[in-house]
Amino acid sequence: GTTSENRGGASASAPAQCKGASGKYVIGMSQANVAEPYRQRMDDDIRAAAKAVPQFEVRFADAQQDNSRQVSDVENFITQKVDLLIISPNEAKPLTQVVKSAYDKGIPVLVLDRKVEGDAYTSWIGADNVEIGRKAGEYVATKLLPNGGKVAEIRGLAGSTPAKERGDGFREAIKGKNIDIVVSQDGDWLREKGQEKADAILKSNPDIPVIYAHNDPMAEGAYLAAKAVGKQDSIKFIGIDGLPIPSGGLKAVEAGRLAATFIYPTAGKEAVDSAKKLLIDCQQLPKTQTLQTQQITKENATETYNKANPN
Protein backbone atom coordinates (compact mmCIF):
# COMPACT_ATOMS: atom_id res chain seq x y z
CA GLY A 1 0.00 0.00 0.00
CA THR A 2 2.02 2.97 -1.23
CA THR A 3 1.01 6.18 -2.84
CA SER A 4 3.25 8.03 -5.25
CA GLU A 5 3.15 11.79 -5.03
CA ASN A 6 4.88 14.32 -7.22
CA ARG A 7 7.20 16.49 -5.20
CA GLY A 8 10.13 18.54 -6.49
CA GLY A 9 10.57 20.28 -9.80
CA ALA A 10 10.76 19.03 -13.35
CA SER A 11 12.84 15.90 -13.68
CA ALA A 12 16.11 15.74 -15.54
CA SER A 13 15.73 15.28 -19.27
CA ALA A 14 14.39 11.91 -20.25
CA PRO A 15 16.79 10.08 -22.62
CA ALA A 16 17.13 12.07 -25.84
CA GLN A 17 16.03 9.31 -28.20
CA CYS A 18 13.15 7.45 -26.64
CA LYS A 19 12.73 4.21 -28.55
CA GLY A 20 9.32 3.66 -27.01
CA ALA A 21 7.53 0.36 -26.99
CA SER A 22 9.41 -0.90 -30.02
CA GLY A 23 12.78 -0.95 -28.28
CA LYS A 24 14.45 -3.56 -26.11
CA TYR A 25 15.93 -2.30 -22.87
CA VAL A 26 18.65 -3.66 -20.61
CA ILE A 27 18.25 -2.43 -17.06
CA GLY A 28 21.04 -2.71 -14.53
CA MET A 29 19.99 -3.11 -10.91
CA SER A 30 22.82 -2.44 -8.44
CA GLN A 31 21.79 -3.76 -5.03
CA ALA A 32 23.72 -2.84 -1.90
CA ASN A 33 23.41 -6.16 -0.14
CA VAL A 34 20.96 -8.99 -0.77
CA ALA A 35 21.85 -10.45 2.61
CA GLU A 36 19.25 -8.05 4.03
CA PRO A 37 15.80 -9.58 3.54
CA TYR A 38 14.42 -6.13 2.73
CA ARG A 39 16.83 -5.69 -0.17
CA GLN A 40 16.39 -9.27 -1.37
CA ARG A 41 12.66 -8.54 -1.50
CA MET A 42 13.39 -5.33 -3.43
CA ASP A 43 15.18 -7.39 -6.09
CA ASP A 44 12.35 -9.92 -6.12
CA ASP A 45 9.77 -7.15 -6.55
CA ILE A 46 11.73 -5.69 -9.46
CA ARG A 47 12.11 -9.14 -11.02
CA ALA A 48 8.39 -9.78 -10.67
CA ALA A 49 7.32 -6.39 -12.00
CA ALA A 50 9.75 -6.55 -14.91
CA LYS A 51 8.29 -9.90 -16.01
CA ALA A 52 5.20 -7.99 -17.00
CA VAL A 53 7.20 -5.77 -19.36
CA PRO A 54 8.44 -7.83 -22.33
CA GLN A 55 10.81 -5.04 -23.44
CA PHE A 56 12.79 -5.18 -20.21
CA GLU A 57 15.76 -7.36 -19.33
CA VAL A 58 17.00 -6.69 -15.80
CA ARG A 59 20.52 -7.59 -14.69
CA PHE A 60 21.26 -7.74 -10.97
CA ALA A 61 24.47 -7.03 -9.12
CA ASP A 62 25.06 -7.48 -5.39
CA ALA A 63 27.68 -5.29 -3.68
CA GLN A 64 27.67 -7.37 -0.51
CA GLN A 65 27.50 -4.27 1.67
CA ASP A 66 30.74 -2.86 0.27
CA ASN A 67 30.77 0.67 -1.18
CA SER A 68 33.75 0.00 -3.41
CA ARG A 69 32.22 -3.16 -4.79
CA GLN A 70 29.06 -1.24 -5.59
CA VAL A 71 31.11 1.42 -7.38
CA SER A 72 32.59 -1.37 -9.52
CA ASP A 73 29.15 -2.83 -10.11
CA VAL A 74 27.94 0.50 -11.48
CA GLU A 75 31.11 0.89 -13.55
CA ASN A 76 30.44 -2.53 -15.03
CA PHE A 77 26.87 -1.56 -15.88
CA ILE A 78 28.24 1.54 -17.59
CA THR A 79 30.63 -0.68 -19.53
CA GLN A 80 27.69 -2.85 -20.50
CA LYS A 81 25.97 0.33 -21.77
CA VAL A 82 22.73 -0.47 -19.93
CA ASP A 83 19.73 1.63 -20.99
CA LEU A 84 18.75 2.42 -17.43
CA LEU A 85 20.35 2.06 -14.03
CA ILE A 86 18.48 1.30 -10.85
CA ILE A 87 20.59 1.61 -7.73
CA SER A 88 19.86 1.01 -4.09
CA PRO A 89 23.00 2.62 -2.63
CA ASN A 90 24.88 1.07 0.25
CA GLU A 91 25.71 4.58 1.41
CA ALA A 92 24.95 8.00 -0.10
CA LYS A 93 28.25 9.83 -0.39
CA PRO A 94 30.49 7.06 -1.77
CA LEU A 95 28.11 6.25 -4.62
CA THR A 96 27.37 9.84 -5.61
CA GLN A 97 30.35 10.19 -7.94
CA VAL A 98 29.87 7.00 -9.92
CA VAL A 99 26.11 7.55 -10.20
CA LYS A 100 26.85 10.99 -11.57
CA SER A 101 29.24 9.61 -14.16
CA ALA A 102 26.56 7.16 -15.31
CA TYR A 103 23.97 9.93 -15.43
CA ASP A 104 26.34 12.21 -17.33
CA LYS A 105 26.86 9.45 -19.91
CA GLY A 106 23.13 9.73 -20.60
CA ILE A 107 22.04 6.70 -18.64
CA PRO A 108 18.88 7.49 -16.71
CA VAL A 109 19.26 6.58 -13.05
CA LEU A 110 16.58 5.57 -10.56
CA VAL A 111 17.81 5.78 -6.98
CA LEU A 112 15.92 3.61 -4.50
CA ASP A 113 15.60 3.80 -0.72
CA ARG A 114 18.86 5.54 0.19
CA LYS A 115 19.57 8.89 -1.50
CA VAL A 116 22.74 9.97 -3.25
CA GLU A 117 23.97 13.56 -2.98
CA GLY A 118 23.43 16.28 -5.55
CA ASP A 119 20.86 15.93 -8.30
CA ALA A 120 22.73 13.89 -10.88
CA TYR A 121 20.02 11.26 -11.07
CA THR A 122 16.70 10.95 -12.78
CA SER A 123 14.43 10.14 -9.89
CA TRP A 124 14.58 9.03 -6.29
CA ILE A 125 12.00 6.57 -5.02
CA GLY A 126 11.84 5.66 -1.37
CA ALA A 127 10.36 6.12 2.05
CA ASP A 128 11.34 8.31 4.96
CA ASN A 129 12.89 6.44 7.87
CA VAL A 130 12.50 9.40 10.22
CA GLU A 131 8.82 9.52 9.34
CA ILE A 132 8.48 5.80 9.98
CA GLY A 133 10.25 6.11 13.31
CA ARG A 134 7.86 8.94 14.13
CA LYS A 135 4.85 6.81 13.20
CA ALA A 136 6.10 4.05 15.48
CA GLY A 137 6.60 6.58 18.25
CA GLU A 138 3.11 7.99 17.83
CA TYR A 139 1.63 4.48 17.92
CA VAL A 140 3.41 3.78 21.20
CA ALA A 141 2.44 7.14 22.66
CA THR A 142 -1.23 6.93 21.69
CA LYS A 143 -2.11 3.23 21.63
CA LEU A 144 0.30 1.35 23.88
CA LEU A 145 1.33 3.82 26.57
CA PRO A 146 -1.34 6.56 26.51
CA ASN A 147 -0.37 7.69 29.99
CA GLY A 148 3.36 7.30 29.67
CA GLY A 149 5.77 4.56 30.63
CA LYS A 150 9.03 2.79 29.80
CA VAL A 151 10.29 1.56 26.44
CA ALA A 152 13.25 -0.61 25.51
CA GLU A 153 14.89 -0.02 22.13
CA ILE A 154 16.80 -2.56 20.06
CA ARG A 155 18.67 -0.60 17.44
CA GLY A 156 19.96 -1.53 14.02
CA LEU A 157 23.64 -1.86 13.17
CA ALA A 158 25.60 0.89 14.90
CA GLY A 159 26.58 3.49 12.32
CA SER A 160 23.94 2.67 9.73
CA THR A 161 21.74 5.58 8.62
CA PRO A 162 18.37 3.85 9.02
CA ALA A 163 19.26 2.92 12.59
CA LYS A 164 19.94 6.57 13.35
CA GLU A 165 16.82 7.87 11.57
CA ARG A 166 14.42 5.26 12.96
CA GLY A 167 15.75 6.07 16.41
CA ASP A 168 15.53 9.86 15.95
CA GLY A 169 12.00 9.82 14.52
CA PHE A 170 10.79 7.66 17.37
CA ARG A 171 12.30 10.02 19.93
CA GLU A 172 10.70 13.04 18.27
CA ALA A 173 7.28 11.46 18.50
CA ILE A 174 7.45 10.46 22.15
CA LYS A 175 8.94 13.78 23.26
CA GLY A 176 6.94 15.27 26.12
CA LYS A 177 4.68 12.24 26.29
CA ASN A 178 6.26 11.15 29.58
CA ILE A 179 7.65 8.08 27.86
CA ASP A 180 11.30 7.28 28.41
CA ILE A 181 13.62 4.86 26.65
CA VAL A 182 15.20 3.19 29.68
CA VAL A 183 17.54 0.90 27.77
CA SER A 184 18.81 0.86 24.21
CA GLN A 185 21.05 -1.83 22.70
CA ASP A 186 22.49 -2.56 19.25
CA GLY A 187 20.93 -5.64 17.63
CA ASP A 188 22.80 -5.34 14.31
CA TRP A 189 19.47 -6.02 12.46
CA LEU A 190 19.83 -9.72 13.43
CA ARG A 191 17.18 -11.97 14.93
CA GLU A 192 19.55 -13.81 17.26
CA LYS A 193 21.13 -10.55 18.42
CA GLY A 194 17.65 -9.23 19.13
CA GLN A 195 17.03 -12.33 21.23
CA GLU A 196 20.37 -12.12 23.04
CA LYS A 197 20.01 -8.40 23.82
CA ALA A 198 16.39 -8.86 24.91
CA ASP A 199 17.54 -11.59 27.30
CA ALA A 200 19.68 -9.00 29.02
CA ILE A 201 17.07 -6.26 28.82
CA LEU A 202 14.44 -8.46 30.46
CA LYS A 203 16.93 -9.13 33.24
CA SER A 204 17.70 -5.48 33.91
CA ASN A 205 14.12 -4.28 33.31
CA PRO A 206 11.73 -7.15 34.04
CA ASP A 207 8.75 -4.80 34.07
CA ILE A 208 9.34 -3.31 30.63
CA PRO A 209 5.95 -2.96 28.85
CA VAL A 210 7.11 -2.17 25.29
CA ILE A 211 10.06 -3.19 23.16
CA TYR A 212 10.68 -1.16 20.01
CA ALA A 213 13.00 -2.84 17.52
CA HIS A 214 14.36 -1.11 14.41
CA ASN A 215 13.30 -4.07 12.29
CA ASP A 216 10.97 -7.04 12.49
CA PRO A 217 13.60 -9.79 12.84
CA MET A 218 15.02 -8.18 15.98
CA ALA A 219 11.48 -7.70 17.30
CA GLU A 220 10.85 -11.40 16.71
CA GLY A 221 14.08 -12.21 18.50
CA ALA A 222 12.94 -10.12 21.45
CA TYR A 223 9.63 -11.96 21.39
CA LEU A 224 11.44 -15.30 21.63
CA ALA A 225 13.46 -14.05 24.59
CA ALA A 226 10.29 -12.93 26.35
CA LYS A 227 8.58 -16.22 25.52
CA ALA A 228 11.44 -18.05 27.18
CA VAL A 229 10.55 -16.36 30.46
CA GLY A 230 6.79 -16.44 29.86
CA LYS A 231 6.50 -12.69 29.37
CA GLN A 232 5.43 -12.76 25.70
CA ASP A 233 1.89 -11.61 26.49
CA SER A 234 2.67 -8.89 29.02
CA ILE A 235 5.05 -7.12 26.61
CA LYS A 236 4.19 -5.42 23.32
CA PHE A 237 6.67 -5.76 20.49
CA ILE A 238 6.99 -3.27 17.65
CA GLY A 239 9.01 -3.76 14.50
CA ILE A 240 9.63 -2.05 11.20
CA ASP A 241 9.74 -3.23 7.55
CA GLY A 242 6.58 -5.36 7.32
CA LEU A 243 7.98 -7.43 4.50
CA PRO A 244 5.28 -9.46 2.74
CA ILE A 245 7.28 -12.69 2.95
CA PRO A 246 6.60 -15.80 5.05
CA SER A 247 9.41 -14.88 7.46
CA GLY A 248 8.42 -11.22 7.42
CA GLY A 249 6.72 -8.83 9.80
CA LEU A 250 3.22 -9.03 8.31
CA LYS A 251 3.03 -12.71 9.19
CA ALA A 252 4.43 -11.97 12.64
CA VAL A 253 1.71 -9.38 13.31
CA GLU A 254 -0.92 -11.66 11.84
CA ALA A 255 0.21 -14.39 14.23
CA GLY A 256 0.04 -11.91 17.09
CA ARG A 257 3.73 -12.05 17.97
CA LEU A 258 4.22 -8.41 17.12
CA ALA A 259 1.72 -5.74 18.19
CA ALA A 260 2.49 -3.66 15.14
CA THR A 261 4.93 -3.14 12.35
CA PHE A 262 5.39 -0.28 9.92
CA ILE A 263 5.85 -1.04 6.29
CA TYR A 264 9.06 0.16 4.79
CA PRO A 265 8.20 -0.13 1.09
CA THR A 266 10.87 -1.67 -1.14
CA ALA A 267 10.05 0.61 -4.08
CA GLY A 268 10.84 -2.29 -6.42
CA LYS A 269 7.53 -2.28 -8.22
CA GLU A 270 7.47 1.52 -8.37
CA ALA A 271 10.95 1.50 -9.89
CA VAL A 272 9.87 -0.72 -12.77
CA ASP A 273 6.76 1.43 -13.29
CA SER A 274 8.96 4.52 -13.48
CA ALA A 275 11.34 2.80 -15.89
CA LYS A 276 8.34 1.97 -18.06
CA LYS A 277 7.09 5.56 -17.94
CA LEU A 278 10.51 6.82 -18.91
CA LEU A 279 11.62 4.37 -21.60
CA ILE A 280 8.42 3.11 -23.10
CA ASP A 281 5.85 5.82 -22.49
CA CYS A 282 8.54 8.45 -23.03
CA GLN A 283 7.28 10.51 -20.10
CA GLN A 284 9.10 12.63 -17.55
CA LEU A 285 9.57 11.48 -13.99
CA PRO A 286 9.20 13.48 -10.80
CA LYS A 287 12.58 14.04 -9.19
CA THR A 288 11.33 12.66 -5.90
CA GLN A 289 8.80 9.94 -5.26
CA THR A 290 8.23 9.48 -1.57
CA LEU A 291 6.42 6.27 -0.67
CA GLN A 292 4.17 6.32 2.34
CA THR A 293 4.58 3.85 5.14
CA GLN A 294 1.64 1.97 6.55
CA GLN A 295 0.85 0.96 10.08
CA ILE A 296 0.18 -2.77 10.27
CA THR A 297 -1.80 -4.25 13.14
CA LYS A 298 -3.78 -7.45 13.50
CA GLU A 299 -6.71 -5.81 11.67
CA ASN A 300 -4.99 -5.23 8.33
CA ALA A 301 -2.07 -7.67 8.36
CA THR A 302 -3.63 -10.55 6.42
CA GLU A 303 -5.25 -8.36 3.83
CA THR A 304 -2.03 -6.44 3.21
CA TYR A 305 -0.03 -9.64 2.86
CA ASN A 306 -2.36 -11.10 0.28
CA LYS A 307 -2.47 -7.82 -1.63
CA ALA A 308 1.35 -7.85 -1.83
CA ASN A 309 1.48 -11.48 -2.97
CA PRO A 310 -1.26 -11.88 -5.54
CA ASN A 311 -1.40 -15.46 -6.76
Binding site: P37, E192, A200, G248
Partner: protein, 333 residues
Protein backbone atom coordinates in the same frame (compact mmCIF):
# COMPACT_ATOMS: atom_id res chain seq x y z
CA UNK B 1 42.34 -34.51 30.74
CA UNK B 2 43.83 -35.43 27.42
CA UNK B 3 46.66 -32.97 27.39
CA UNK B 4 48.50 -34.87 30.09
CA UNK B 5 49.44 -37.36 27.41
CA UNK B 6 51.18 -34.77 25.35
CA UNK B 7 52.03 -31.90 27.70
CA UNK B 8 54.74 -31.58 30.30
CA UNK B 9 54.29 -33.55 33.47
CA UNK B 10 52.36 -31.74 36.19
CA UNK B 11 54.39 -29.02 37.87
CA UNK B 12 52.89 -26.16 39.88
CA UNK B 13 53.18 -23.81 36.93
CA UNK B 14 52.12 -26.22 34.24
CA UNK B 15 48.98 -27.14 36.15
CA UNK B 16 47.96 -23.49 36.19
CA UNK B 17 48.65 -23.27 32.48
CA UNK B 18 46.97 -26.53 31.63
CA UNK B 19 43.80 -25.38 33.31
CA UNK B 20 44.36 -21.77 32.30
CA UNK B 21 41.01 -21.63 30.55
CA UNK B 22 39.29 -22.82 33.72
CA UNK B 23 41.14 -20.23 35.79
CA UNK B 24 40.28 -17.63 33.17
CA UNK B 25 36.64 -18.67 33.33
CA UNK B 26 36.63 -18.39 37.10
CA UNK B 27 38.31 -14.99 36.91
CA UNK B 28 35.83 -13.63 34.39
CA UNK B 29 32.98 -15.17 36.37
CA UNK B 30 34.07 -13.39 39.53
CA UNK B 31 34.47 -10.15 37.60
CA UNK B 32 30.95 -10.64 36.28
CA UNK B 33 29.57 -11.10 39.79
CA UNK B 34 31.37 -7.99 40.97
CA UNK B 35 30.18 -5.82 38.09
CA UNK B 36 26.73 -7.36 37.91
CA UNK B 37 23.96 -4.77 38.18
CA UNK B 38 21.40 -5.73 40.79
CA UNK B 39 17.71 -5.12 41.02
CA UNK B 40 15.74 -5.31 44.24
CA UNK B 41 18.70 -6.88 46.01
CA UNK B 42 19.17 -9.69 43.49
CA UNK B 43 22.38 -9.90 41.46
CA UNK B 44 21.05 -10.07 37.92
CA UNK B 45 24.05 -11.99 36.64
CA UNK B 46 23.67 -14.75 39.19
CA UNK B 47 19.92 -15.18 38.74
CA UNK B 48 19.51 -18.72 37.53
CA UNK B 49 17.55 -17.60 34.51
CA UNK B 50 20.42 -15.44 33.41
CA UNK B 51 23.07 -18.09 33.86
CA UNK B 52 21.06 -20.43 31.66
CA UNK B 53 20.71 -17.64 29.12
CA UNK B 54 24.50 -17.48 29.00
CA UNK B 55 24.77 -21.17 28.26
CA UNK B 56 21.94 -21.03 25.72
CA UNK B 57 23.50 -18.07 23.96
CA UNK B 58 26.82 -19.92 23.70
CA UNK B 59 25.43 -23.35 22.90
CA UNK B 60 25.67 -23.05 19.10
CA UNK B 61 29.14 -21.51 19.15
CA UNK B 62 30.10 -24.08 21.75
CA UNK B 63 29.01 -27.03 19.64
CA UNK B 64 30.85 -25.64 16.62
CA UNK B 65 33.90 -24.98 18.77
CA UNK B 66 34.01 -28.62 19.87
CA UNK B 67 34.33 -29.70 16.24
CA UNK B 68 36.79 -26.88 15.61
CA UNK B 69 38.93 -28.21 18.45
CA UNK B 70 39.43 -31.49 16.60
CA UNK B 71 40.30 -29.68 13.39
CA UNK B 72 42.77 -27.36 15.12
CA UNK B 73 44.33 -30.28 16.99
CA UNK B 74 45.38 -31.83 13.67
CA UNK B 75 46.89 -28.47 12.76
CA UNK B 76 44.05 -27.45 10.50
CA UNK B 77 41.33 -24.82 10.66
CA UNK B 78 37.71 -24.76 9.49
CA UNK B 79 36.41 -21.39 8.34
CA UNK B 80 33.30 -22.92 6.80
CA UNK B 81 31.43 -23.82 9.99
CA UNK B 82 29.44 -20.59 10.14
CA UNK B 83 28.27 -21.02 6.57
CA UNK B 84 27.51 -24.71 7.10
CA UNK B 85 25.40 -23.70 10.10
CA UNK B 86 23.48 -21.38 7.80
CA UNK B 87 23.13 -24.10 5.19
CA UNK B 88 21.81 -26.52 7.81
CA UNK B 89 19.39 -23.96 9.24
CA UNK B 90 18.00 -23.30 5.79
CA UNK B 91 17.95 -27.02 5.08
CA UNK B 92 15.92 -27.87 8.16
CA UNK B 93 13.43 -25.09 7.48
CA UNK B 94 12.97 -25.95 3.81
CA UNK B 95 12.67 -29.70 4.38
CA UNK B 96 10.22 -29.36 7.28
CA UNK B 97 8.09 -26.55 5.89
CA UNK B 98 8.28 -26.70 2.12
CA UNK B 99 9.01 -30.39 1.52
CA UNK B 100 6.86 -31.60 4.45
CA UNK B 101 9.51 -33.98 5.71
CA UNK B 102 8.78 -35.43 9.10
CA UNK B 103 11.17 -34.65 11.90
CA UNK B 104 13.63 -37.53 11.98
CA UNK B 105 14.31 -37.82 8.25
CA UNK B 106 14.75 -34.06 7.98
CA UNK B 107 17.22 -33.88 10.86
CA UNK B 108 19.16 -36.90 9.65
CA UNK B 109 19.33 -35.58 6.11
CA UNK B 110 20.61 -32.18 7.26
CA UNK B 111 23.20 -33.79 9.53
CA UNK B 112 24.27 -35.92 6.58
CA UNK B 113 24.66 -32.82 4.42
CA UNK B 114 26.94 -31.25 7.03
CA UNK B 115 28.92 -34.44 7.42
CA UNK B 116 29.44 -34.88 3.69
CA UNK B 117 30.35 -31.23 3.24
CA UNK B 118 32.99 -31.61 5.94
CA UNK B 119 34.30 -34.87 4.51
CA UNK B 120 34.64 -33.31 1.07
CA UNK B 121 36.66 -30.46 2.52
CA UNK B 122 38.80 -32.99 4.33
CA UNK B 123 39.41 -34.86 1.10
CA UNK B 124 40.32 -31.64 -0.69
CA UNK B 125 42.88 -30.73 1.96
CA UNK B 126 44.46 -34.16 2.24
CA UNK B 127 44.40 -35.63 -1.25
CA UNK B 128 45.22 -32.41 -3.08
CA UNK B 129 47.42 -31.10 -0.26
CA UNK B 130 45.65 -27.72 -0.11
CA UNK B 131 45.88 -25.78 3.14
CA UNK B 132 42.75 -26.15 5.23
CA UNK B 133 42.54 -22.38 5.51
CA UNK B 134 42.01 -22.10 1.76
CA UNK B 135 39.76 -25.10 1.30
CA UNK B 136 37.44 -24.04 4.09
CA UNK B 137 37.56 -20.40 3.01
CA UNK B 138 36.29 -21.55 -0.37
CA UNK B 139 33.95 -23.95 1.43
CA UNK B 140 32.53 -20.96 3.31
CA UNK B 141 31.62 -19.20 0.08
CA UNK B 142 30.27 -22.35 -1.49
CA UNK B 143 28.09 -23.21 1.51
CA UNK B 144 26.69 -19.68 1.57
CA UNK B 145 25.96 -19.86 -2.12
CA UNK B 146 24.17 -23.18 -1.72
CA UNK B 147 22.18 -21.89 1.26
CA UNK B 148 21.06 -18.84 -0.70
CA UNK B 149 20.05 -21.00 -3.65
CA UNK B 150 18.26 -23.55 -1.46
CA UNK B 151 16.30 -20.87 0.38
CA UNK B 152 15.70 -18.62 -2.60
CA UNK B 153 17.59 -15.89 -0.81
CA UNK B 154 15.01 -15.23 1.88
CA UNK B 155 14.75 -16.59 5.38
CA UNK B 156 12.34 -19.51 5.53
CA UNK B 157 9.92 -19.13 8.42
CA UNK B 158 8.92 -22.20 10.41
CA UNK B 159 5.32 -22.44 11.53
CA UNK B 160 4.36 -25.37 13.71
CA UNK B 161 1.38 -27.65 13.34
CA UNK B 162 0.27 -30.74 11.49
CA UNK B 163 -1.00 -29.23 8.28
CA UNK B 164 1.14 -29.28 5.14
CA UNK B 165 3.52 -26.30 5.20
CA UNK B 166 3.85 -26.62 8.95
CA UNK B 167 6.72 -28.21 10.84
CA UNK B 168 6.10 -30.94 13.46
CA UNK B 169 5.62 -29.32 16.84
CA UNK B 170 8.39 -31.48 18.29
CA UNK B 171 10.91 -29.35 16.41
CA UNK B 172 9.86 -26.28 18.38
CA UNK B 173 11.23 -28.02 21.50
CA UNK B 174 14.63 -26.67 20.46
CA UNK B 175 13.36 -23.24 21.45
CA UNK B 176 11.90 -24.49 24.75
CA UNK B 177 13.26 -25.06 28.24
CA UNK B 178 12.84 -28.13 30.41
CA UNK B 179 12.87 -28.68 34.18
CA UNK B 180 9.97 -26.28 34.74
CA UNK B 181 11.12 -23.89 32.06
CA UNK B 182 14.57 -23.36 33.43
CA UNK B 183 17.11 -25.31 31.36
CA UNK B 184 17.14 -24.45 27.64
CA UNK B 185 17.21 -27.52 25.40
CA UNK B 186 20.11 -26.18 23.29
CA UNK B 187 22.18 -25.84 26.45
CA UNK B 188 21.47 -29.50 27.25
CA UNK B 189 22.49 -30.60 23.76
CA UNK B 190 25.70 -28.57 24.03
CA UNK B 191 26.51 -30.18 27.37
CA UNK B 192 25.90 -33.67 25.98
CA UNK B 193 28.01 -33.04 22.87
CA UNK B 194 30.83 -31.61 24.98
CA UNK B 195 30.72 -34.52 27.43
CA UNK B 196 30.88 -37.08 24.65
CA UNK B 197 33.74 -35.25 22.94
CA UNK B 198 35.70 -35.02 26.19
CA UNK B 199 35.35 -38.72 26.93
CA UNK B 200 36.22 -39.55 23.33
CA UNK B 201 39.26 -37.31 23.18
CA UNK B 202 40.43 -38.51 26.56
CA UNK B 203 40.77 -42.17 25.95
CA UNK B 204 40.25 -43.18 22.37
CA UNK B 205 42.94 -44.50 20.06
CA UNK B 206 41.57 -42.16 17.42
CA UNK B 207 42.33 -39.19 19.63
CA UNK B 208 45.96 -40.33 19.94
CA UNK B 209 46.14 -40.31 16.17
CA UNK B 210 44.63 -36.82 16.13
CA UNK B 211 47.24 -35.48 18.55
CA UNK B 212 50.05 -37.31 16.76
CA UNK B 213 49.15 -35.79 13.40
CA UNK B 214 49.07 -32.35 14.95
CA UNK B 215 52.42 -32.97 16.59
CA UNK B 216 54.35 -34.24 13.58
CA UNK B 217 52.42 -35.47 10.58
CA UNK B 218 55.32 -37.20 8.84
CA UNK B 219 56.29 -39.03 12.00
CA UNK B 220 52.68 -40.04 12.52
CA UNK B 221 52.49 -41.46 9.00
CA UNK B 222 55.71 -43.42 9.45
CA UNK B 223 54.32 -44.73 12.74
CA UNK B 224 51.40 -46.28 10.92
CA UNK B 225 48.80 -43.64 11.69
CA UNK B 226 46.22 -43.55 8.86
CA UNK B 227 46.80 -39.83 8.49
CA UNK B 228 44.53 -39.18 5.54
CA UNK B 229 41.60 -41.09 6.97
CA UNK B 230 41.88 -39.42 10.38
CA UNK B 231 42.07 -35.96 8.87
CA UNK B 232 39.10 -36.50 6.60
CA UNK B 233 37.05 -37.86 9.51
CA UNK B 234 37.97 -34.87 11.66
CA UNK B 235 36.71 -32.43 9.04
CA UNK B 236 33.62 -34.59 8.78
CA UNK B 237 33.04 -34.25 12.53
CA UNK B 238 33.37 -30.49 12.27
CA UNK B 239 30.87 -30.31 9.44
CA UNK B 240 28.51 -32.63 11.28
CA UNK B 241 28.54 -30.56 14.47
CA UNK B 242 28.14 -27.34 12.47
CA UNK B 243 25.03 -28.86 10.90
CA UNK B 244 23.75 -29.87 14.35
CA UNK B 245 24.23 -26.29 15.52
CA UNK B 246 22.38 -25.12 12.42
CA UNK B 247 19.38 -27.31 13.24
CA UNK B 248 19.34 -25.89 16.76
CA UNK B 249 19.62 -22.40 15.29
CA UNK B 250 16.57 -22.95 13.11
CA UNK B 251 14.64 -24.49 15.98
CA UNK B 252 15.45 -21.62 18.32
CA UNK B 253 14.61 -18.83 15.89
CA UNK B 254 11.75 -20.63 14.13
CA UNK B 255 13.43 -19.75 10.86
CA UNK B 256 16.33 -20.72 8.67
CA UNK B 257 17.93 -17.95 6.67
CA UNK B 258 20.96 -18.22 4.40
CA UNK B 259 22.99 -15.65 6.31
CA UNK B 260 22.62 -17.36 9.66
CA UNK B 261 25.88 -17.99 11.46
CA UNK B 262 28.05 -15.54 9.58
CA UNK B 263 31.36 -14.94 11.42
CA UNK B 264 30.45 -17.68 13.92
CA UNK B 265 33.66 -19.40 12.80
CA UNK B 266 35.68 -16.59 14.33
CA UNK B 267 33.84 -16.84 17.65
CA UNK B 268 34.39 -20.59 17.63
CA UNK B 269 38.10 -20.23 16.91
CA UNK B 270 38.34 -17.63 19.65
CA UNK B 271 36.68 -20.05 22.07
CA UNK B 272 39.12 -22.81 21.12
CA UNK B 273 42.17 -20.60 21.50
CA UNK B 274 41.00 -18.96 24.70
CA UNK B 275 40.50 -22.56 25.79
CA UNK B 276 44.22 -23.14 25.52
CA UNK B 277 44.41 -25.14 22.30
CA UNK B 278 47.36 -24.23 20.13
CA UNK B 279 46.60 -23.23 16.55
CA UNK B 280 49.76 -25.02 15.45
CA UNK B 281 48.13 -28.27 16.41
CA UNK B 282 48.96 -31.18 18.68
CA UNK B 283 48.14 -29.64 22.02
CA UNK B 284 44.83 -28.70 23.59
CA UNK B 285 41.58 -30.16 24.84
CA UNK B 286 37.81 -29.96 24.57
CA UNK B 287 37.52 -29.19 28.28
CA UNK B 288 39.49 -26.06 27.59
CA UNK B 289 37.30 -25.19 24.63
CA UNK B 290 34.12 -25.54 26.67
CA UNK B 291 35.61 -23.30 29.34
CA UNK B 292 36.70 -20.88 26.65
CA UNK B 293 33.23 -20.76 25.13
CA UNK B 294 31.62 -20.16 28.52
CA UNK B 295 34.20 -17.49 29.29
CA UNK B 296 33.29 -15.58 26.15
CA UNK B 297 29.59 -16.15 26.85
CA UNK B 298 29.86 -14.72 30.37
CA UNK B 299 31.81 -11.81 28.96
CA UNK B 300 29.12 -11.03 26.36
CA UNK B 301 26.43 -11.37 28.98
CA UNK B 302 27.91 -9.09 31.61
CA UNK B 303 28.77 -6.46 29.01
CA UNK B 304 25.18 -6.59 27.79
CA UNK B 305 23.71 -6.53 31.30
CA UNK B 306 25.62 -3.32 31.93
CA UNK B 307 24.64 -2.19 28.42
CA UNK B 308 28.23 -1.30 27.62
CA UNK B 309 28.68 0.56 24.34
CA UNK B 310 29.08 -1.87 21.42
CA UNK B 311 32.41 -0.40 20.35
CA UNK B 312 33.85 -0.66 23.82
CA UNK B 313 32.58 -4.25 23.87
CA UNK B 314 34.64 -4.96 20.74
CA UNK B 315 37.76 -3.55 22.37
CA UNK B 316 37.27 -5.49 25.60
CA UNK B 317 36.64 -8.79 23.83
CA UNK B 318 39.66 -8.28 21.62
CA UNK B 319 41.89 -7.68 24.61
CA UNK B 320 40.53 -10.64 26.57
CA UNK B 321 41.27 -12.96 23.65
CA UNK B 322 44.82 -11.66 23.33
CA UNK B 323 45.49 -11.98 27.04
CA UNK B 324 44.14 -15.52 27.12
CA UNK B 325 46.30 -16.51 24.18
CA UNK B 326 49.21 -14.66 25.77
CA UNK B 327 49.02 -16.88 28.83
CA UNK B 328 49.60 -19.85 26.54
CA UNK B 329 52.68 -18.15 25.11
CA UNK B 330 54.18 -17.97 28.59
CA UNK B 331 53.39 -21.65 29.08
CA UNK B 332 56.54 -23.71 29.87
CA UNK B 333 58.20 -25.67 27.03
Amino acid sequence: MTTDFVATRPSAASVVFRFQSLFGLVAVFIAAVVFSPSRDGELLFLSSGNLFNVVRAMSEIGIIAVGMTFVILIGGIDLSVGAVLGLAAVGSAVLLVENDFSLVPAVLLVLLVGLVFGLLQGIATTLFKIQAFIVTLAGLQIARGLARIWSGGQGVAIAYGSDPGEAPVAFSLLGERTFNGLVPIPALIFIVVAALAILFLRGSAFSRHVYAIGGNEQAARLSGVPVTRVKVIVFGISGFLAALAGIIHAGQLNQGSPNDGSTYELDAIAAVVVGGTSLSGGRGSVVGTVAGALLLGVLNNILALNSVDTNVQLLIKGLVIVVAAGLQGLRPS
